[in-house]
Symmetry: C2
Subunit: 682 residues, 2 copies
């Protein structure tokens, strides 16, 4: 085991250990350790300039945070639309589109811009996502040149607003089972779009209730009596503010949040569109009704189509991670201002951030916020490369899809959990709209459902792990997966993950188990090894359980249902391992110095919290002794105390524009410090 | 160990174990097992009639759920006020007041009424709580006959609306440190109320922004230059809709939820009130300025005053527990309607409630909902007895206060957690206002902060445990407690909880530890013993750590801060033990039959989930072997499968009026079944 990484790494002026006990925490906190502005530059990375543009746009339209509270829903929707169009004019929202249509030609930049926008009003964010990510992305990815020529330029400027009409009332996660149909009529060379059932109405569709003029509609294609699965069509839905003939539109009404976005429902009654309305990159229908596609297998075709829309998933995860930064910044700053109860001193009440429990509530989430940021950065970079270079390597594309699903799930849960804890940490003040949490909480809540329910996405992750991203990957629904795993691929997985093999590989690296000591508890290689062991063990276990159940003659679906919590756990372990590796890689790649020290401290805290959260599993599987498990918890507490004097610098490092923090009474005393950081990065 | 309780206990038609694997869960669920209406009668208990009245009032004013979404904030506030007054006219809100003033003279009934009201619009609930619980309760408990004569009758009818002005911007949980002053002027025989600082303004005060005419104001009493601590005064704040002279009022503005309640801020600028404005049950000031009190110790006096207001805490916990029932009912019913993905069958998509993971998400929370209900019932009964019989036993009163704090904390966290999980389990539909979750989530969010931040309340619980409810109990802030524990009482606690003693007492009852087997994993005595062991061990551990730290010369406040997570864990363990005991007592007291079987199943599930959640601790402390820990998790899954066919009956048993479920598209297909249950209980 490596020992050099176990030595103290940070520039914090406090020692950990017993001396802390004699250091009165009520005293003035040391804020040194590192330069927050330098941290912001590091976090901004390659796209510092893009992020600076978005921050400046956010500051310019900061009043929308108040408009969200004071305007009627109708006015707020208009206001949000206007802001989106004005931001579009700065180039901020078109960065992912080809330059020949007025875009920026840089997918990574478009993700960075979107993520950063999540520091502000989230209706503006989601309206942007609907127009440029979902609608624009579908035209760009599923369409061909004639669609690009017709739609890209006006949609990039916002002259043409559109919808992405995929989800139906009856079908969200299971897109392959949509009800809406598109039947080709060779006589007129038209497709007939139709909603056969009330539950088949498109639902929760952004831009549908008010502003959208066209929609990319996903429907079951039928040609000459034969079904070809789900395809996408450009369908006019509104003209001059009125629904087009045959289109019924309903407003989704008041939502928990995001009320600046006009979500609605769409039903089609035999609506006819010309033959070239089919977005035909992956399949086309000839004038006389011959269906053709370069991808023969219908399942594979469907998942290839969906795969091109992956950017949306990456963006939602990044948005959750960034929204959580706002909550962390407000709560940490409030904790450095709010005093309550005499504790360490009779003369003065204690800063709430000096309470051990308060640190426990906020700092592990702060550390996870950094971890998720770097994991998201790595994911976005891979997305950029794969899409920009049109990488054809199937395995690599599937790994990217898996990771996009995993980071989206963990990133959005991180947001829900962190925003809630930060609200509670601000007490009654956190309940007032002016202090940001109400909007943050209500608006981000649905992120766990956007782009697929998080549990369904984790199953997708598990699918990749269990099938080794096999060719058959894309054919497998839950049922198919259970059968598949029980059949061919399971032997490989079982072999790869046999406990014997795992232990063999890990010998000499992994302390714990028989080791009662606490040595090396902060060793990064130890953390990585623990998470790798857990992942392999769980994936192998799932495979074996599925195989055993099906070999015993069980219904594959029932077997799967009974193993489902294990499947989800394995997927989560995989994603957590990848997140930690991203954090470790980042830290190890930095030059020595105060930033590296500061990040190593958070990386240690994040790794140990991840292990601590699941220490029951590690004990159950002999990888953690009881004394060592307790040592992990003690170390988490000790690390929290070392984070404490740097806490404000860490949240300032996020570079949240001060206008986005709002919460004047909660963060005011610290506003100067905050204002420095982003200013210096512009 | 008792074995007879380990045999199957329920009338469910399914066996657990391997046979489940061959039973296709997509088939029509068995709904038998027990009669939901009988369950509702059982849950309603002694106050079935009161609860029926409230349910019928809720149904009559069901339109307020929609008004909350469609009305302006100003109109909604008026609407809520009107409903509260109309409900008052039915006697529903006055049940806790003496009959001679037009009240119902039954404290238990008033708690039952309030809890049940939480099934509906929560602004109506909180406005009711402000007027009758907080304002009315303060007049009743802190005042004497002249105050009762002057105020009780008009406040019970709602003719006089009032505020409970305790919290300040700068002080919430630490009430003893309030800034507002009340200085006695013997020359005019008046108290002068004054807010010396901006942060000393009363904040988050319900009824303050619009409707309140008087306020019970908590202020530091100064008489003849001497401070006597916090006392309460009746102060006119508004007349004819205008703020009284010297009173500055500000609206708290938009909140996350509860926007039908007019929360506001109050500042006093040398406001004079007559001498009899002091609520003088516990202290009085003579005309010439002599202060006297039957309770000599100022701290003790303060906590005795606060102690009389305990009903509010009991009510908030009960409200959280009941609000969570609404979320569980909607989510379970939706899970029985929503199908997604073919899993067990190629012909039909699977009901989402048949997925193992979905059961894992909802059923432990369903079981906890029942557990919390019975714990709350026991708490409310004890409250009723202690207050009605004016029990003088100090230890019993302190135990009641401790338990009120503990159930409030766990009950409101249960609400936050359950509502969130249920929302996510309903996907995008859960995000729409019409489907109830947005209001449930936003309105209940602040319950974790009401009546004291939950972490502060758990510290209060720990205080009781650590000091054995000693005489000094009430003198101890965090600082004092650390010193006290390190001093006198710790030896008792340490002695009582020495591991040796614990093991001695538990020998022969507690399997596990050395026992690798799974025998008796569903034995109720085993569950109870596990939770008792954990509590005693943790309480003893905290006491020893505090003593060690202070003996080593540490600053008591710092020592306390470092042990704080352990303190909170011990308190939580205590409350969880009490909750489980309440559930077990309830089940054991029932006659044999289908209701008892059904509740035993949930009780088992709740107990095992509680152990599973903290299985790391049990393993760390040698009370659970790794194989047995895994057996606990397997058993939880098996119990979830047995709960599945009864799930709808369990949520129907809650007796939520169908009008309160709303969510037409989510629960419609099951509305008939729902409508039966409450109807039969009226």
């Amino acid at each position: 085991m490596s020992t050099d990484t176990a030595t103290p790494r940070t520039a914090t002026p406090e020692d950990d250990g017993v001396t802390d006990a004699t250091h009165a925490p009520g005293g003035s906190p040391a804020t040194g350790g590192f330069d927050p502005a330098a941290m912001t530059r590091l976090l901004d990375g390659r796209y510092a300039e893009v992020r600076a543009l978005v921050r400046s746009n956010l500051a310019e339209y900061a009043s929308v945070l108040e408009d969200a509270e004071t305007m009627s829903r109708a006015d707020y929707r208009e206001r949000v639309k206007d802001i989106v169009l004005e931001m579009a004019a700065t180039g901020q929202t078109g960065m992912g589109f080809p330059e020949e249509y007025g875009g920026g030609g840089d997918i990574g930049a478009s993700v960075a811009a979107f993520e950063t926008l999540a520091l502000g009003d989230l209706s503006v964010l989601v309206k942007t996502g609907v127009q440029f990510g979902l609608f624009g992305g579908a035209i760009q990815q599923l369409g061909t040149k004639r669609h690009h020529d017709a739609y890209l330029r006006p949609l990039i400027t916002g002259e043409l607003l559109g919808c992405f009409a995929m989800s139906e009332t009856g079908h969200g996660s299971n897109v392959q089972a949509l009800d809406t149909t598109a039947t080709y009529d060779a006589d007129t060379e038209e497709f007939v779009l139709h909603t056969p059932t009330e539950q088949g109405g498109k639902d929760y569709i952004g831009n549908a209730a008010q502003h959208g003029e066209v929609a990319v509609v996903f429907a079951q294609l039928h040609v000459g009596g034969e079904g070809h699965g789900v395809h996408a069509f450009v369908v006019p839905i509104r003209s001059g503010g009125e629904a087009c003939a045959g289109v019924r539109i309903e407003d989704d009404g008041l939502k928990m949040g995001l009320n600046g976005v006009d979500n609605g429902r769409l039903w089609f009654d035999q609506v006819r569109v010309p033959r070239d309305a089919l977005l035909d990159r992956f399949a086309s229908v000839s004038a006389d009704g011959a269906y053709s596609s370069p991808i023969e297998n219908p399942n594979r075709r469907f998942f290839t189509m969906l795969g091109t829309l992956i950017t949306g998933r990456v963006c939602v995860g990044g948005a959750g991670i960034n929204a959580a930064k706002v909550a962390l910044a407000v709560a940490v700053k409030y904790g450095l201002r709010r005093r309550q109860f005499e504790a360490a001193s009779k003369d003065e009440e204690q800063l709430v951030l000096d309470y051990g429990m308060h640190q426990r509530r906020l700092f592990p989430r702060l550390a996870r916020g950094y971890a998720m940021h770097f994991a998201q950065e790595a994911l976005a970079a891979e997305l950029h490369t794969v899409l920009t270079d049109q990488v054809e390597d199937d395995t690599r594309r599937r790994e990217l899809e898996t990771m996009a699903a995993g980071i989206k799930a963990l990133g959005t849960w991180h947001a829900t959990d962190t925003i809630q804890e930060c609200r509670e940490a601000c007490g009654g003040a956190g309940y007032l709209a002016v202090n940001r949490f109400p909007a943050l909480k209500a608006d981000t809540d649905v992120f766990t459902t956007f782009e697929g329910d998080n549990h369904v996405l984790l199953q997708l992750v598990a699918k990749g792990l269990l099938t080794n991203y096999a060719e058959e990957f894309e054919d497998l629904d839950s049922l198919g997966m259970a059968r598949f795993v029980a059949g061919m691929a399971v032997d490989t997985v079982v072999e790869r993950t046999s406990v014997h093999k795992l232990l063999e590989r890990l010998r000499g690296v992994l302390p714990g188990g028989d080791d009662e000591g606490v040595e090396g508890v902060r060793d990064t290689d130890y953390h990585l090894t623990m998470l790798r062991f857990r992942e392999e063990h769980q994936v192998g276990g799932v495979a074996r359980r599925l195989k055993r159940g099906i070999d015993a003659g069980g219904n594959p679906g029932v077997v799967f249902s009974e193993v489902q919590d294990h499947v989800i756990a394995a997927a989560r372990s995989h994603v957590q391992r990848v997140v930690l590796e991203a954090f470790v890689d980042k830290v190890r790649g930095l030059p020595e110095g105060e930033l590296r020290d500061a990040l190593q401290l958070l990386c240690d805290l994040h790794a140990l919290c991840t292990i601590e959260d699941d220490r029951a599993w590690f004990m159950e599987h002999g990888r953690l002794s009881a004394p060592r498990s307790k040592a992990v918890s003690r170390e988490v507490n000790a690390l929290c105390r070392r984070v404490r004097p740097l806490a404000e610098a860490y949240v300032d490092g996020f570079g949240v524009p001060p206008e986005m923090l709002r919460a004047p009474a909660l963060v005011d005393a610290y506003a100067n410090a905050t204002r420095t950081a982003p200013g210096e990065t512009h």
